[in-house]
């Protein structure tokens, strides 16, 4: 019973559009996408590319992409090449914000979520991995990856 309640609670948390934390901008999930920009403004693709390439932002732990000069790329997941042709900006935005809503078993971290996590190290607690501005920059960049 206790377990069920916890599960329901967790579910309820997943369903509400806006996370409880004030630190995060509100957003609305429609189907498999977040159609509107988290910040209300479009992102910058050049900044987005730099964010994806920067090791501490972790994308290249798992992904490879169209980065011929980058030696350290991962192969735990699909290449980012062509992501902009496969997905709309809204779909890419939800994928980054909280990939676990698309696939609860995914290993891809939720980049814009602070709840439902366990034993987060103090330095990272209560902070999303990327800011809303960074999410928008990455979305804008991924959208340019047409092939």
């Amino acid at each position: 019973m206790k377990f069920m309640l916890t599960a329901l609670l967790a579910n309820a948390l997943m369903m509400t559009a806006a996370p409880a934390q004030d630190a995060l901008h509100r957003f609305e999930v429609v189907g498999d996408a977040i159609p509107s920009s988290l910040t209300g403004a479009p992102g910058d693709p050049a900044r987005g590319r730099a964010i994806v390439l920067k090791r501490e932002n972790t994308c290249l732990l798992c992904h490879s992409g169209p980065f011929p000069d980058e030696r350290f790329q991962g192969d735990l997941s699909p290449s980012l090449a062509g992501a902009g042709a496969r997905w709309s900006e809204g779909q890419l935005r939800l994928r980054l914000v909280d990939a676990s809503r698309l696939n609860p078993a995914t290993i891809m971290p939720s980049y814009y979520r602070v709840d439902g996590l366990t034993r987060v190290a103090p330095a990272w607690r209560g902070k999303p991995i990327l800011t809303a501005e960074q999410i928008e920059d990455v979305v804008a960049y991924l959208a340019t990856l047409r092939e």
Partner: protein, 265 residues
């Protein structure tokens, strides 16, 4: 260049403390005949370094440990050798059996803790600090006496709850990246994480010399590195959670040969 995936750190102020529901995900355990030591993924040069005792930096710790073995210590004024004699016979296969259940503590102790029990109770000397030079040296020396021996967790029912707790920790998502150990070491073993081959996390070689550390370190230091990479809170050295993880990892690697002191990138 740094080779460790876990050296991805950034300091940021803590803002919130959040209550969280723990979710245990079940990764499929690796079939016994598909297990491979981290050694198998080493480059040729690193393999050669581990294989050649005159090139293996871990052997320096072993030599220090050998000296400590016969040095009298503590108010009892006795050396390990005074009671245990020649380590080549008395310590053969011992490290391959740890963590083992300690009746007094009512829980498993790892080999470092077992050595410290003798420091404390038999030598009446100050226990060695975790990761101290002396602790690593003696555990490397004791560990060497099991090199080539199969990992043999004791068939002791009292260990079971601790092994299970270790398995749960291993399969629990944690940290800001929300990953479980098994996501990498079971589900994605052999894949490349930022270019680094993900090993199966077998504790065959500890304490070992890690090129990234440029020093010898314990299994718990390695586990701490992975937790930091996951952006999870790490435990204090010697914490029950680490010993439980070790108990599970040794069971998971049962039958695999010990390599102490191994070399890893």
């Amino acid at each position: 260049m740094t080779s460790g995936w876990a050296s991805l750190r950034r300091l940021a102020p803590a803002v919130f403390v959040l209550a969280a529901t723990a979710i245990v995900t079940a990764s499929a355990e690796i079939p016994l005949n598909e297990r491979r030591s981290g050694y198998a993924d080493l480059g040729r040069e690193t393999k050669a370094m581990q294989d050649d005792d005159t090139a293996n930096p871990g052997m320096l710790a072993v030599l220090d440990g050998e000296a400590l073995w016969s040095a009298k210590a503590g108010s009892a004024g006795r050396s390990c050798a005074d009671c245990h004699g020649d380590a080549r016979t008395s310590m053969k296969g011992v490290a391959a059996r740890y963590p083992a259940f300690d009746a007094k503590a009512g829980r498993p102790v790892n080999i470092e803790q077992r050595i410290n029990l003798c420091r404390d109770e038999r030598q009446q000397a100050k226990p060695f600090a975790y990761e101290s030079r002396d602790m690593l040296a003696l555990s490397a020396f004791v560990g060497l006496q099991s090199r080539g021996q199969p990992i043999a967790p004791p068939d002791d029912a009292r260990l079971q709850p601790f092994r299970d707790a270790g398995r749960d920790t291993y399969n629990r998502r944690q940290g800001q990246l929300n990953l479980a150990c098994g996501h990498c070491h079971d589900d994605n073993r052999g894949q490349r994480l930022a270019g680094i081959v993900i090993p199966q996390a077998h504790p065959t070689g500890y304490p070992l010399y890690r090129l990234e550390w440029q020093s010898v370190g314990s299994l718990q230091r390695r586990l701490r590195n992975c937790l930091i990479g996951m952006r999870a809170e790490h435990y204090a050295y010697g914490a029950p959670e680490y010993v439980e993880l070790e108990t599970y990892l040794m069971w998971r690697a049962r039958g695999m040969p010990m390599e102490t002191p191994a070399v890893r990138p």
